[in-house]
């Protein structure tokens, strides 16, 4: 019982802190886009079946182009509305409002991060994990969004007692880029 209370408190604290963090990044104007972190080591490609011909040298590496996700005016106002609803303790309404925003911009990782934070506030770490993974996949190329998605995912994993996986997420290179 004590443990449960403890983890709930931690979750709540995590939500507040993260909400503040993401509040800054989502609603404040974005900083100018950062150059992508150059890849220092070439990743090991998964083994592919060896063709009978001799292999030409691998094609030149193309670094993933930088991306930056923003909210449109419409989704930004819905996120603001959802946060007001959370502040009034109306989590179901906030959930519906974020659903609405996601229908407008289904591929915006910032919205999935927002939804994941809401799931954490509802003590649904399992659903928060799904949102975190979805956000991380969509954030590809956007270091800031990746870091936020990574933090959400780590919190969601901890909320399920999967601390080691959480640490793994936190050790990813993109976690160093802070908003």
């Amino acid at each position: 019982m004590v443990q449960v209370d403890h983890s709930l408190k931690r979750l709540a604290a995590g939500f507040t802190a993260a909400a503040l963090l993401s509040a800054c990044s989502l609603l404040a104007p974005h900083p100018p886009s950062q150059p992508p972190t150059p890849q220092t080591s070439s990743p090991q490609p998964p083994g592919s079946p060896a063709p009978s011909q001799s292999l030409p040298p691998p094609a030149p590496q193309v670094p993933p182009p930088p991306r930056e996700n923003h909210l449109s005016a419409a989704t930004r106002s819905l996120v603001t509305q959802a946060r007001t609803q959370v502040a009034h303790g109306d989590l179901p309404a906030a959930s519906s409002t974020l659903d609405r925003a996601l229908r407008i911009e289904p591929n915006n990782p910032l919205l999935w991060i927002e939804l994941g934070r809401l799931r954490l506030a509802e003590s649904d770490a399992h659903q928060a994990e799904g949102c975190g993974r979805r956000a991380l996949a969509l954030a590809s190329g956007d270091r800031i969004a990746q870091a936020q998605a990574g933090r959400l995912l780590a919190d969601a994993l901890r909320g399920q007692g999967r601390n080691q996986e959480a640490r793994q997420v936190e050790s990813q290179p993109f976690m160093n880029s802070s908003p």
Binding site: S48, R67, A74, L78, I104, G130, S140, G141
Partner: protein, 765 residues
């Protein structure tokens, strides 16, 4: 002797008295019992209000792809009228692309909105901006949700329940004039009526009049069986009397109008004038003209005998008799009756705004996601994910193409059937369900219940399982060569390509795009049947298929709904979103029962799904699905797969864009061969649906460590767009060694970067 006679008489009197007293007591107890039944049940039924079911409201914001005409059409659908918006809520004014709208008070799932005036500026193909009355910019505004039905979630009936205020005076007076002239005077049973009926029956020598009051008819409908016995008649009479003792004439009349049986729509009984008006005329009761009201009143006497759809002449004659009776009762004047009698019946064409197939899914999801006790409460509001525009587009596309295909077919003794489901893959929201070509009829819902072999729709699962091993990529060469397998029952199986050709060595991307059976069977066997079955399950198939090699060619049977669940995960980057038709249910006070959230779970490796999805775009660009492009706006990128079961019994197409996923099935109900491949039958329907719902191109965000490379579609060798006419872009893990085409330099990085950049541009904006 003299004393014994009166003694005996007294004894007899006592016996008779006791017997009489016992009888009276029994009758009293029986009456009290019936009284209880009447008050309890009638009270319950009278005030049981069905759940109101709403579609998803249309969100308007800068960039929303809604034209001015579509906006006006939507406003009309929501019963907004053109006029001066200052006059009150529910009115709009349009000048070209500019709208001033006085929006009504609406309870949405998450908020109550008070009436307000907004200005909407619509451009050529999308909304440009919105403003409030004071001129401040409005980032987003939603229209009222469309009411699409009234259901009793527990017993599944649908009704349009009228309150006393909803009943037009002509209907109220007309029903009394035709069915029970002394309704306002009698106390539930009408002795004069019975005598009159008896006299009429005696003169005719058979039963031609019942003499039942409206109250008795109501009691019969509510509480009693159909048998005609003295006992039942007596029960009916007592109950009618008790009902009248407890409830007002108006309550009883309105309950009667809501309960009376008016017709049959397949397995669906049409009860009540509200639903009857909707079913026969597609109009609210308040908008019916004299002749239409008369037709409905006339149906009470014999709903199947006078069924206007089956027996138009009888219905017409009956309507005109009623018109005459209304004129005799001075409810309408004789001239109006004569005019109305000359009018056609005015029935709506079958189909329309009624969406039984979708409501079917709503009821199932209500049962799945909510406690039955909660659903029994009165006055619930159900918010669904239905998109009425997508629903209409899907209904029309199916009807149009099936008629065309039927006309071109040599089959004359059967009609092709079909089913469509449209969903938003990101959320799992089901936005449209078409259960067959007769869309207005509630019947066999093929979209949810027709379980058919999926044919090549299974192939993406085979290729995904292969990609997930890391041993394959889009350029990996497969062997499309004959194969014979010994099955566990001792028999042998020698699959063939649909074309009966053998293609030899082909790159994986082409084998999938052209749906090659031999290459796929070899690939699936190499990957392993258990792995393929696991992939299907993690994509969302609920029961693990049997591990038979023919699984690789889609002998597994699925309903269109199940196909949607599986393909949703492919369209959603490997994340499985649980399908839902119900967003939320609010109780009478507006509190959510238990809101069902977007459920999203990681189901397959996003990088593998991305590689697969890029291959699925080649199906429509170069493969069996290439017929779609002619029906789509130029340049639209879509991903999908054709499916054809053995002997062309089932024609399937499942595919998605950035916004929608749609699955189409075409076939015969009796499972005979259609002669149609997935490309010939289902694909054109699919493409028309996708074109009319204005989908954005399918442009997923590329995962990290995946890059685009050019390969020859025929030989799988790395090349450039300039060097090979059949070059196609495929996604492979970054740095994958690919054999190059002699004489062709591999893709110059500049052009590739440009390509990716332009891709991103279109993805972000």
């Amino acid at each position: 002797m003299a004393r014994s006679k009166p003694h005996r008489l007294r004894k007899l009197l006592v016996v008779v008295g006791v017997a009489l007293a016992a009888l009276v007591a029994l009758a009293a107890a029986w009456t009290v019992y019936l009284d209880r039944v009447v008050t309890r049940d009638f009270q319950g039924r009278l005030w049981s209000v069905p759940a109101r079911v709403y579609a998803e409201p249309l969100d308007l914001y800068a960039g929303a792809r809604v034209t001015a005409d579509e906006l006006e059409e939507e406003l009309r659908r929501l019963h907004y009228r053109s006029g001066d918006p200052a006059a009150g809520a529910g009115v709009y004014r349009r000048h070209g692309g500019d709208f001033d709208l006085h929006a009504r008070r609406v309870r949405f799932v998450d908020e109550l909105r008070e009436p307000e005036i907004v200005s909407i500026h619509a451009g050529g193909d999308s909304i440009i901006g919105l403003r409030q009355a004071d001129g401040t910019e409005l980032p987003v505004f939603r229209l009222d949700p469309l009411l699409v039905g009234n259901v009793f979630p527990v017993h599944g009936e649908d009704r349009i329940v009228l309150s006393p205020d909803d009943v037009p005076p002509l209907l109220r007076l007309g029903v009394k004039a035709v069915e029970d002239r002394r309704f306002d005077e009698h106390h539930g049973v009408d002795p004069y009526g019975i005598l009159r009926a008896l006299w009429a029956d005696l003169r005719a020598g058979r039963v031609i009049q019942g003499g039942s009051t409206l109250t008795q008819q109501l009691v019969k409908n509510y509480f009693l069986s159909d048998e005609q016995t003295i006992g039942r008649k007596a029960t009916e009479a007592v109950m009618a009397l008790r009902l009248e003792a407890h409830f007002s004439k108006d309550d009883i009349l309105v309950a009667y109008l809501n309960e009376v049986y008016l017709g049959q729509d397949g397995p669906r009984a049409i009860h009540g004038f509200g639903l009857g008006s909707e079913y026969f005329f597609a109009k609210p009761l308040a908008e019916l003209d004299v002749g239409e009201v008369a037709l409905l009143i006339g149906l009470v006497k014999g709903p199947s005998y006078y069924d206007p759809r089956k027996h138009a002449d009888r219905a017409r004659a009956r309507r005109n008799v009623v018109l005459q009776e209304l004129a005799d009762a001075r409810l309408i004047d004789a001239a109006a009756a004569k005019r109305a009698a000359a009018e056609p019946l005015g029935l709506r064409p079958p189909g329309g705004s009624y969406v039984p197939a979708y409501l079917d899914l709503v009821r199932r999801h209500l049962k799945r996601d909510y406690a039955e006790a909660d659903l029994a409460a009165a006055g619930l509001t159900v918010y669904t994910t239905l998109n009425p525009r997508a629903q209409a587009a899907a209904e029309q596309a199916l009807a149009r193409h099936l008629s065309r295909l039927d006309a071109a077919s040599r089959v004359r003794d059967a009609h092709l059937e079909g089913a469509i489901i449209v969903a938003d893959p990101n959320s799992g929201d089901v936005v449209a369900v078409v259960g067959g070509r007769a869309v207005g009829a509630e019947g066999f819902n093929r979209a949810l219940d027709a379980r058919r072999p999926i044919g090549s729709l299974v192939k993406p699962a085979v290729y995904l399982a292969a990609l997930e091993t890391g041993r394959y990529n889009a350029a990996t060469m497969l062997d499309d060569a004959p194969i014979t397998l010994k099955l566990s029952d001792g028999s042998t199986w020698s699959p063939q390509n649909y074309t009966h050709e053998i293609y030899g060595r082909v790159p994986m991307a082409r084998a999938l795009a052209e749906s090659m059976n031999l290459a796929t069977v070899r690939l699936g066997l190499d990957v392993g049947l258990p792995r393929v079955a696991d992939t299907l399950v993690s994509l969302g198939l609920e029961t693990r298929p049997t591990l038979n090699p023919s699984l690789l060619l889609g002998t597994v049977e699925m309903t269109p709904l199940e196909v949607v669940q599986v393909y949703t995960t492919l369209a959603n980057g490997g994340f499985r979103a649980r399908l839902r038709a119900v967003q939320a249910v609010l109780d009478e006070q507006g509190r959510p029962l238990k809101s069902f959230k977007v459920q999203v779970e990681a189901a397959a490796a996003p990088a593998a799904v991305y590689q697969l999805d890029r291959m699925l775009t080649l199906v429509t660009a170069r493969g069996t699905g290439r017929g779609a492009s002619a029906r789509l706006p130029p340049g639209t990128i879509v991903a999908g797969k054709t499916g054809t079961s053995s002997d062309t019994r089932d024609s399937w197409f499942a595919g998605f864009t950035g916004t929608y996923l749609a699955v189409v099935w075409v076939g015969y109900d009796d499972n005979r061969a259609t002669g149609l491949t997935g490309a010939a039958g289902a694909l054109p329907v699919w493409a028309d649906v996708i074109a009319s719902v204005k989908s954005a191109s399918y442009q997923p965000v590329p995962p990290e460590l995946i890059e685009d490379r050019w390969i020859g579609f025929g030989d799988g060798l790395e090349t450039t767009a300039a060097c090979s006419a059949d070059a196609v872009a495929v996604a492979v893990p970054t740095g994958t060694p690919l054999p190059g085409k002699p004489g062709c330099a591999s893709s110059p990085p500049n052009s590739l970067t440009d390509k990716i950049k332009s891709w991103f541009k279109s993805t972000i904006h």
